[in-house]
């Protein structure tokens, strides 16, 4: 197994009050947030008052009246994704928003069933179940940091669960929701610019700490 993720997806999620029909690749092109080719090659799945969903070659966007999501699963485009998010809300400055989450979804490959099992036992006391059931296995665990260690309003939610896909047959997904409470778009943009890099640094330190402790016990 390696302690580098085989997959890394980020999602910028904001809660507020949105008008999904406004946000589209064409609109982004007009505003200068996308180039002509990017605008024309975008795939629009839906534009509706309840849901807008479209994809670029490097990111995807989903908007409902209460929630805005911008997702990217290529590390080469994480910074442009942040720029795109900032661009959208630099234009929509009057949008009421109450929270912003910088989400990091990292998938690690444990390599084999034995290591996968050992990891579950490392995370939780599985033997407490043996009295009542046989062959207990951990599926999901979720940890909340609240208040935040950096004293900003919000919390950090860490969720681990088993996944199985082409890149990681015995995979563990570690999803870190770096949640900040905000009062306005201006506040939100400041939070993003001031905490963007530290959010990544913190994710790395959480996952590294976890793997180092696991490997020490092997």
């Amino acid at each position: 197994m390696t302690i580098e993720p085989v997959q890394y997806t980020i999602a910028l999620v904001t809660i507020g009050s949105f008008n999904p029909v406004i946000i589209s690749p064409l609109w982004l092109g007009i505003k200068g947030a996308l180039g002509k080719d990017e605008t024309e090659s975008a795939t629009v799945e839906m534009i509706h008052r309840e849901l807008t969903q479209f994809s670029l070659s490097w990111a995807a966007c989903r908007v409902t009246p209460e929630r805005f999501e911008l997702i990217c699963d290529s590390i080469a485009y994480f910074e442009p994704t942040k720029d795109l998010f900032q661009n959208i809300f630099n234009v929509l400055r009057e949008t009421p928003v109450t929270a912003i989450g910088i989400n990091h979804v990292t998938v690690f490959d444990l390599g084999d069933a034995t290591k996968f099992d050992q990891f579950g036992k490392f995370l939780a006391k599985m033997d407490i179940w043996n009295e009542a059931i046989s062959n207990s296995k951990l599926k999901t665990i979720e940890i909340l940091e609240q208040p935040r260690g950096d004293k900003l309003s919000g919390y950090r939610n860490i969720r681990l669960e088993g996944v199985s896909n082409a890149k990681a047959k015995y995979g563990v997904s570690i999803s870190i929701n770096d949640h900040f409470d905000v009062t306005s778009v201006s506040d939100m943009l400041n939070i993003i610019s001031q905490n963007w890099q530290s959010s990544f640094d913190k994710t790395k330190s959480i996952t590294t700490s976890l793997w180092n402790q696991f490997l020490k016990r092997q």
Partner: protein
Amino acid sequence: MEINNTSPKRGEIEITVIGTGGGYGESLIIHDGTGQWIIVDSCVSPDGDKNLPLEYLNHLGVNLSNSVKLIVCTHWHDDHIKGLADIYHECSSAEIAFSQAHDQWKFLYFVSLDALKLKDQSSESSTYEFNTILGILITRGKSYRRAQSDQLLHLVRLDGKSITLFALSPSSSTLDKFDEEISQLIADSESRESKIVIEKPNEKSVALLFDFGIYNAIFGADLEVGHHSDSGWFNILDNLKCINRETKSIYFKIPHHGSKNGFHARIWEELLSENPVATLTPWNRNNGLPTDEMINVYKRLSKNLYITSTKANFGKPKKRSHRLEKLIRDFDIDISEVKYSHGIIRYRLDIVNKGTCFNVEISGAAMHLQDPN
């Protein structure tokens, strides 16, 4: 830190040059003989962890909040100003000196506009430093000292003699032209996704004259010779009142990293004594400065020639995995690392006891460039 941590005594002048190898800035630290210190520009280690002038002064045990009396910002370049806001913050009793365009409002509007880019992280960090400095200035309710040719920036008396620091540049006409340039920079700021690049920043650079009684020193900053008699070194040579033609400088901080643009024979003939103590700091532009040709020129002019590190050291990319290194080469990307080489040269002269030559100490990557003859 390798260099000796003994503080200069009363009556002992100190000029310390800190260099970083060509891409991470340089700084001058001056002791005026009375226990007061002056810091000219700033530089930080590449990881941002160490503010090098503060590290040096802390090494000497200097009380930053009481003893540092003046901070001079010689110009706008990143490599001269990074960390200057921290210095100003720590040195709470220091005055600060800088030059600015004559049209103050326009200048401040440009600084404010560029500071907005910080949110997008597309700003030159020098504007960030400057913006922070202005904020501290306001909080302290102080004025800044105007750095412009013939302006006095610092004055103390030692045993009845005056010890002064004068700005030799920029000239008034240079600042007029800066006004025009600011207008263009504001128009350019409309493109928020690019860094503002100041045209010819070196013309606005603040060269200094440090006069300590019977001797004096000239710090050339990045000032280039210029093309007109009312700017650059020609203006200093022909028009300034603060220069005493009878007393030539025994120390010269060679301007603009020893480039040809910062050299003119008249500077050496008319302003400097024979065989002055001279310091070079390298830079990473193009093939690096100073060039070998210019080093030889300076070696002929001074046997007391020092450099803070070997000239800009770059060639290979940063060390990465073999796979990635090969991949970078496969894509025909020509990359070279700008290496960090920390060097300190300290010059001390006891003027009370009528010392006649500097006591020189070097540490880190600094070296004495020997005269080939």
